[in-house]
């Protein structure tokens, strides 16, 4: 189910880029899944979950590379692989339309084989220093990140941010030909809203694997009830995220030219989904409404902030995944209900609004750890790639589009070559 999200990401990204780069971005999505499978099988799983021991805190796993320990882990491996692939895919959308294939291969294997596993180890392994499953928990409570707002989305989103900063904006996005800053950033709309929505719906469906599915990793009585709760909170958060982003965008527009913005609606829904991911099993359904509503606002705010800072994020992955990943972790610290925590984690820790501040502190630690770890490693890594010239395609390639320069032709062939003059079809259109 979570794997199906790969299809969702592929469609979302394909719809959001310009037609001249459609093939390129889809190939990247396909390679993502493949690279993640190999990398996570060979090294990642071992780093993340090898040699778990609740009584000992370790920074990284050191056993079970190549799934050598046998058949019992296979269920969880498959599930975790889908998570790792998700973290890697998030980056693809941000750097779309200007990143080389070789850089893409390098960082996606680096991310799934090393960066992501260390984070997963810290939070989800029994030996992790932030884990709720260890004996010696941080602040005595351990971090609650049920399905990975921090582990998956923040990691992916933070890598994406670093990559976008190092890589620079697309040609003509913020600066004109002479290098002067534009008054208003050029809009570079994607080529197919239908594909974007298809992607959004597929992602939403996949999220039901992501959130309720995460109960399956934990075996205890009542898992089914926790899964049902997770499914409900997930639904409500997505819905309120969608509505809040749309409404804010609508009322923020100048009177008279207010529009219902489709992109805001879909990214608001995704933002709500990301934000509820950490706390989906420990907050009450009513709490999902403020979490989702704030997520819509956080998305719009972060998106505007990026524009101000001239950081170019093709599919708005940083606002959706990073900003809402942070908000999701913090929201869990605020809204965690001790009764539900007792069912899901067996401890009964309170969020700030229920009278306890320890969980919030632990969640902040998680956020800082992930941001620090990812940016300290990915920053130099991307800068190195940039230095040796592997990171960005040449100016000519970028202008003509990567499909023609790299992939032997455009993604769409709608007209017969001979009849192309006769047709008055707008040539940018596609299905």
């Amino acid at each position: 189910m979570v794997f199906f999200m790969q299809a969702g990401f592929a469609m979302l990204c394909a719809g959001s880029v310009r037609a001249k780069n459609a093939k390129n971005i889809m190939l990247k999505n396909l390679l993502d899944a493949c690279g993640a499978a190999i990398g996570f099988w060979a090294l990642g799983w071992g780093f993340a979950y090898g040699g778990q021991d609740p009584s000992k805190v370790t920074f990284i796993g050191d056993q079970d590379f190549f799934l050598s320990s046998g058949i019992n882990d296979h269920k969880s491996w498959f599930f975790q692989f889908a998570f790792a692939a998700t973290a890697a895919t998030i980056v693809a959308g941000t750097v779309a339309e200007r990143c080389t294939m070789i850089a893409y291969l390098c960082y996606s294997s680096f991310l799934t084989a090393f960066i992501y596993p260390v984070v997963a180890h810290a939070v989800w392994s029994q030996s992790g220093f932030l884990s709720s499953f260890a004996e010696d928990k941080i602040f005595d409570v351990g971090v609650v990140d049920f399905a990975g707002s921090g582990v998956v989305h923040l990691t992916g989103g933070c890598s994406a941010l670093v990559a976008a900063i190092v890589l620079g904006p697309r040609i003509g996005r913020f600066y004109d030909d002479k290098g002067d800053k534009l008054q208003v950033p050029t809009d570079m709309p994607g080529h197919s809203a239908s594909l974007q929505i298809l992607g959004t719906f597929i992602l939403w469906v996949g999220w039901y694997g992501f959130n309720p599915g995460s109960t399956l990793g934990i075996m205890y009585s009542g898992a089914a009830e926790v899964a049902a709760l997770a499914a409900v909170t997930t639904t409500i958060a997505a819905a309120s995220g969608c509505i809040s982003a749309l409404a804010i965008r609508y009322f923020a527009g100048p009177v008279g030219s207010r529009t219902y913005d489709l992109t805001a609606a879909q990214n608001g829904a995704l933002g709500g989904l990301v934000a509820i991911t950490a706390g989906c099993s420990v907050v009450q359904p009513w709490a999902a409404v403020p979490i989702g509503a704030v997520a819509g606002a956080v998305y719009l705010g972060a998106s505007n902030l990026l524009l101000k800072l001239c950081i170019d994020d093709t599919v708005d992955a940083v606002p959706v995944h990073m900003a809402n990943g942070i908000w999701g972790c913090i929201a869990t610290g605020l809204f965690c209900d001790p009764k539900l925590h007792a069912v899901a984690y067996g401890a009964g820790v309170e969020g700030l609004f229920y009278g306890g501040g320890k969980l919030l502190a632990a969640e902040v630690c998680l956020v800082l750890f992930v941001i620090g770890w990812v940016s300290c490693l990915m920053g130099p890594f991307f800068m190195l790639l940039n230095k040796i010239g592997w990171f960005r395609v040449t100016i000519e390639e970028e202008e003509v589009g990567l499909d023609i320069s790299k992939h032997g032709g455009s993604a769409y062939v709608l007209t017969e070559a001979t009849a192309s003059e006769k047709l008055e079809i707008v040539s940018g259109s596609s299905i």
Binding site: R18, H191, S192, Y208, E225, V232, A238, Q266, P285, W286
Partner: protein, 457 residues
């Protein structure tokens, strides 16, 4: 019994299955809910494939909103009205649920039911958006979705499926005609409700410019998306029908067999109806065009037709239901054409006409064996279809239910759309319609104007 211990005045249909295994049940319902939710994606693709390219964004945002607004409405009011008990629980002929608003005091064990039923509610709302596409205002759209998912639809659910509902087959006594309505997964409850509202909307809003002018065929964007949508819907229907057993196993019997039977009847009816519709339209058209629109809508018509009877008819019954479903669909198309009502995606023929046929069909084709395995064995002989030795009581109950749904939804939604027409307006201005709503309302056309370099061949 065990089931009554679980603080469960609100535990509606599950109460029918004492001692159910909650873990399996939850899994099964969530699995079903996700399949049904995926139908939202199917509807979005179907509708986007059938509208003009200039209204792409408009139809897409409505589909996203059906799910989103629907979730909040269903949480605030819908669930309570549909599935909770009335205040006076001795009143066994109730009209509306009166507890658990905002899901207060709802145990976690019921949450999978909420999810499953939400996915159904979103489906009912989506049916309308396809019929009135390309011309309805966004404000009117928001009003009717809220009213439909918060009030009109939940009341119908309460009648048909709640253990206290007056027409329900899940009641313990005082059943309508001694049987209650046999509408297993909602031909009447979901599809007919959506379609009647769609008909009221389409009639109030009026046809698109040029729809009924001679010699003009309004353009359709992409059959590829339409077919993708149809196949997704077909898959989602396995959740719609199959998971409506609501549980996999009970102490009373193994419901997984009933679920499997349901999926087989669903398959056969859809396939039969598709082939029949394609054959009939090809024979009726002048130049024997094999029409993919007919194939797509034929599948959907077959699916709607089997939805009420999917668990209680035999396989040959499903085959006949599929064939007749195709006739109902074609009759619906012709009727709308005659009255010059413009239904962009054919929602009224598919969901309305076939919805009516779907509810009638089990009255004829239900066999007592299957009725016993999906409903109750005690009244299986009495409540079988008339072709299988039943008394006809169930047929009568089903017909009464159809009339009640048409009356309730028809009156309320007509009032609703007329009120909209008088206040906020139901229809966009002429210029907006001509230019398409993406440009005027949603910040730009859907496809960017950046030229694609044509490929050298």
């Amino acid at each position: 019994t065990e089931a009554q211990n679980i603080d469960c005045v609100n535990d509606v249909m599950l109460a029918a299955f004492a001692n159910y295994d909650s873990s399996n049940t939850n899994f099964w319902l969530m699995f079903g809910a996700i399949l049904v939710f995926f139908m939202q994606c199917g509807f979005a693709m179907l509708e986007v494939g059938m509208v003009n390219v200039k209204n792409t964004k408009n139809i897409l945002i409505k589909n996203v909103f059906d799910a989103s607004l629907g979730a909040l409405c269903w949480w605030f009011f819908g669930y309570a009205i549909a599935l909770s008990a009335p205040k006076d629980t001795t009143n066994f002929s109730s009209f509306i649920g009166e507890q658990n608003f905002f899901m207060k005091d709802v145990d976690n064990t019921i949450k999978s039911t909420w999810l499953f039923q939400w996915a159904f509610a979103a489906t009912a709302a989506t049916i309308v958006s396809g019929a009135v596409a390309e011309r309805v205002t966004f404000g009117c759209y928001i009003v009717y979705s809220i009213v439909l998912t918060s009030f009109i639809y939940p009341v119908v659910v309460h009648w048909g499926w709640n253990t206290y509902g007056w027409a329900s087959a899940w009641r313990e006594n005082d059943l309508l005609f001694g049987c209650g309505v046999t509408d297993f997964a909602g031909s009447g409850v979901v599809h007919l409700t959506g379609a009647v509202a769609a008909l009221a909307g389409a009639a109030t809003v009026g046809p698109r410019i040029g729809r009924f002018d001679e010699g003009i065929k309004l353009p359709q964007q992409s059959v590829v998306f339409q077919t993708l949508g149809t196949l997704i819907l077909w898959m989602g229907w396995y959740g719609f029908n199959g998971a409506s057993t609501l549980a996999l196993g009970t102490s009373g019997g193994d419901l997984s067999n009933a679920a499997a039977h349901t999926m087989v009847t669903t398959t056969i009816s859809a396939a039969t109806c598709c082939l029949t519709t394609v054959a009939l339209t090809a024979l009726m058209s002048k130049d024997k065009v094999i029409d993919i629109g007919a194939a797509n809508n034929g599948i959907l018509a077959g699916l709607v037709s089997i939805t009420a009877g999917c668990s209680s008819v035999e396989l040959e019954g499903a085959f006949v239901i599929g064939i007749i479903g195709s006739l109902f669909y074609l009759a619906g198309v012709a009727t709308l054409e005659y009255f010059k009502i413009d239904d962009v995606v054919g929602a009224v023929p598919v969901h309305g006409f076939c919805g009516v046929w779907g509810v009638i069909a089990p009255g004829f084709f239900t066999s007592s064996d299957q009725y016993a395995s999906a409903y109750y064995s005690a009244r299986a002989a009495k409540c079988a279809g008339v072709f299988y030795g039943g008394t006809g009581d169930m047929l009568a109950a089903n017909i009464v239910f159809i009339l009640a749904v048409i009356g309730w939804v028809g009156v309320l939604s007509t009032i609703l759309f007329q009120l909209c027409k008088m206040t906020i307006g139901v229809r966009v201005s002429l210029e907006v319609e001509e230019n398409g709503m993406d440009d005027s309302k949603h910040g730009g056309k859907v496809f960017s104007a950046t030229p694609v370099p044509t490929q050298e061949v």
